[in-house]
């Protein structure tokens, strides 16, 4: 009787083998056949909010290209699969996309944490791996040649523009003290450490500095400590959830620093402003490679297409979506140059040229890091506007930040 059950299991397993073995789809693109692009996205779990925004950006790019007649005469079709923010699943997904669905191109997932294992799989099969969101330093020290981080600046340098702006203030206005708090995270911590070193070297005294676990959900005691430090400047290495929580606790404590910058959160449009109230966004800063009104190649079309398809207003567009769209733009131009979908040629082209994206012109060094600088963006009158460097600034930065409403 046990035997029967086990036999059943054996048959079932073998059946599954047969079923999955036959499930090969896709195949490489030819004339008329669509170009298949494989992406694993976090549609559940920790990164699900960002996963959704990436999907929107990728899809808009495909629609845009297809409306213009496609790439090398073929339509673009995305295959999106869900990794539920798990390593195991992201490895399985790219493995499947490449060997089972035989996708022509692979684009990256969300976060450095998932990008590293995924890029190893892509490298194994010789695929180029342009990615919008894996900027942690370790992504680039694995010796891989196929990774391209499609944001204007290496993550470590994200806050450099901010420090330059701050230190360029007239001497009598310059802040004297600064407080730093950052998630223990490969994306946020390196940039906050860099900013702290630069400001400290210029004589801005560090009055509070703290690292907190990425899993923290109750940010109140931390925010309490920052508020208690009464620092002139607050630099936070955070994600959306803590970006909101800190602002709320500062309001409760009636503490309004002269300048407040958050690495992520203020760039998430209405996801951010809805939670803290539009009036309270006034003066908050964020490092950014993109903002809705930026004058770059095709940004107008991007914003218009986004609003037509997903609704809302320009301020509500997440930078994640713009970064994903840029990945598409970079690849489109590389394919245009090489006139082929050969990944080896693409990798070569991606290393050797400058590309126009809605985040501005972009080029990659030998490790796949971009060589540009990020910009400094500030919420003013209900929208985000660039305030530094002077070349791109459209208005003067508001300083000090006004009090909470």
């Amino acid at each position: 009787m046990r035997l029967t059950i086990l036999r059943g299991a054996a048959v079932l397993t073998l059946g599954l083998i047969a079923a999955t073995g036959c499930a090969n789809g896709g195949g490489s693109a030819g004339p008329g056949r669509p170009i298949l692009v494989g992406v694993s996205l976090s549609l559940d779990g920790d990164f699900s909010g960002d996963g959704k925004a990436l999907q929107q950006g990728y899809q808009l790019w495909a629609d845009d290209v297809n409306a213009r007649g496609g790439l090398l005469g073929s339509k673009i079709r995305f295959k999106f699969v869900n990794d539920a923010s798990s390593t195991q699943q992201v490895v399985t997904n790219y493995q499947n996309l490449i060997t089972r669905d035989r996708v022509d191109l692979t684009f990256g997932p969300f976060s450095s944490l998932l990008t590293i294992p995924a890029s190893e799989i892509a490298a194994r099969y010789g695929y180029a791996f342009p990615e919008p969101a894996g900027g942690g330093p370790h992504v680039f020290d694995r010796g891989l040649k196929n990774v391209f981080f499609v944001q204007p600046a290496p993550v470590v340098n994200n806050l450099v523009s901010y420090t330059k702006w701050l230190l360029a203030l007239p001497a009598d206005q310059r802040p004297k003290t600064a407080a730093y708090a950052t998630q223990d995270d490969p994306f946020t911590q390196p940039q906050v450490d860099r900013a702290k070193a630069l400001l400290a070297a210029a004589g801005v005294q560090t009055v509070y500095s703290q690292v907190y676990p990425a899993e923290t959900t109750d940010f109140t005691p931390l925010a309490l400590s920052v508020a208690h430090s009464r620092a002139d400047v607050v630099v936070l290495g955070c994600q959306l959830q803590d970006a909101i929580a800190f602002v709320q606790t500062f309001q409760q404590q009636r503490y309004s620093p002269r300048s407040l910058i958050e690495t992520t959160g203020p760039d998430q449009g209405s996801q951010f402003s809805d939670k803290i109230g539009l009036a309270n966004t006034e003066g908050i800063m964020v490092p950014a490679g993109w903002w809705p009104s930026v004058k770059t190649s095709a940004n107008d079309q991007f914003v218009r297409a986004f609003l037509a398809r997903y609704g809302g207003d320009a301020a509500s567009i997440s930078a994640d979506a713009a970064e994903a769209f840029s990945v598409g733009q970079v690849v489109e131009q590389a394919v245009g140059k090489t006139q082929s979908l050969d990944n080896a040629k693409l990798i070569q082209a991606l290393h050797s040229q400058t590309f126009q994206t809605i985040q501005g012109p972009m080029a990659f060094d030998s490790t796949g890091q971009p060589n540009g600088a990020s910009f400094l963006v500030q919420w003013q009158h209900g929208q985000t506007v660039p305030v530094y460097p002077p070349g791109v600034a459209v208005v003067k930065a508001e300083y000090p930040k006004p009090n909470w409403q």
Partner: protein
């Protein structure tokens, strides 16, 4: 620094009160039904989303909305108990962990479908408005939440110790089969207890939803906190849940400001383990050793 410690401790006591309420439902359910409801965190999140729907759709204040959400959650509780908990006959303690975990996943999935995985928060005026106590701003929401939690806990205490129905709940907790023998409808008591647990989750959900940005996946963190609270307090003990909740939040918040937030959770877990080595039944647990 000392002022900061007092502020953090104050915050710990206020939020601890709310956690005490959420944990009280969980510990009661364990006491009466001998099940570990891993889905309790998801139910709190469900409560937050119900209030969110009322607030966004009908502009009903989350606290006033409890007049609707508490009975609604109570009713949902009765249905869940009937469908998923009652059929468990053998090995209830272990199986209940898995079944209620599946329930949590299901609730997370449905909420994700209905509300997407974006973070939401209940926006009300008393969320950031505060008054000063000794140099610290105390937001009204913490005070409202704390007072409401005390009121609900007091009502729960009165129900348990001053009514006939409360007597049957306590009898069932002490000895399920003996309670059955003296004519108590144990299944009815179980269903109602589960409903009551859900109603407390509704209250917890309101305060949680005002003080935290939440999404459907927020329940994982909540449940691990709630479980450690009820074990530390002693499974089934209402008093234990209250003491442990306040203790946990105060220790966490004070460690976060004095040492570092990266060690806050560690400190609490280490304390939990230390206490359980010397008192396996928790602070106020009844039995010296739980039967297996």
């Amino acid at each position: 620094m000392s002022g900061l410690v007092v502020g953090a401790a104050m915050l710990g006591v206020l939020t601890g009160g709310v956690y005490a309420l959420m944990a009280s439902g969980l510990t009661l359910i364990f006491g009466v039904m001998r099940i570990i409801n891993v889905g309790h965190g998801a139910l709190v999140v469900l409560g937050a989303y119900l209030s969110f729907a009322l607030l966004r759709g009908l502009h009903i204040d989350p606290f006033l909305g409890l007049a609707v959400t508490m009975p609604a959650m109570f009713a949902i509780g009765l249905v869940l108990e009937l469908l998923f908990i009652r059929p468990l006959r053998t090995d209830r303690e272990a199986l209940s962990v898995l079944v209620t975990y599946a329930l949590a996943l299901g609730i997370e999935g449905v909420l994700g479908y209905l509300f997407s995985s974006d973070f939401q928060q209940l926006r009300v005026w008393y969320q950031t408005a505060s008054f000063a106590v000794g140099g610290f701003g105390v937001a009204y929401v913490y005070v409202f939440g704390f007072l409401l939690s005390i009121a609900v806990l007091a009502a729960l205490g009165a129900l348990l110790y001053a009514t006939t129905f409360g007597a049957s709940i306590r009898a069932t907790m002490l000895n399920r089969s003996a309670a059955q023998l003296i004519g108590i409808d144990v299944e009815r008591v179980s269903a109602i207890t589960f409903g009551i647990g859900m109603a407390t989750a509704a209250v917890g959900g309101v305060v949680f939803g005002i003080t935290n940005a939440f999404n459907p996946g927020s329940h994982y963190d909540l449940i691990s906190r709630l479980l450690t609270i009820i074990v530390l307090g002693g499974l089934g003990s209402l008093k234990g849940a209250i003491v442990a909740a306040v203790l946990m939040l105060v220790i966490e918040d004070v460690t976060a400001v004095v040492v570092s937030p990266t060690w806050a959770a560690f400190t609490f877990f280490a304390l939990l383990v230390l206490i359980l080595i010397t008192r396996p039944q928790g602070l106020y647990g009844l039995r010296a050793r739980e039967g297996t």
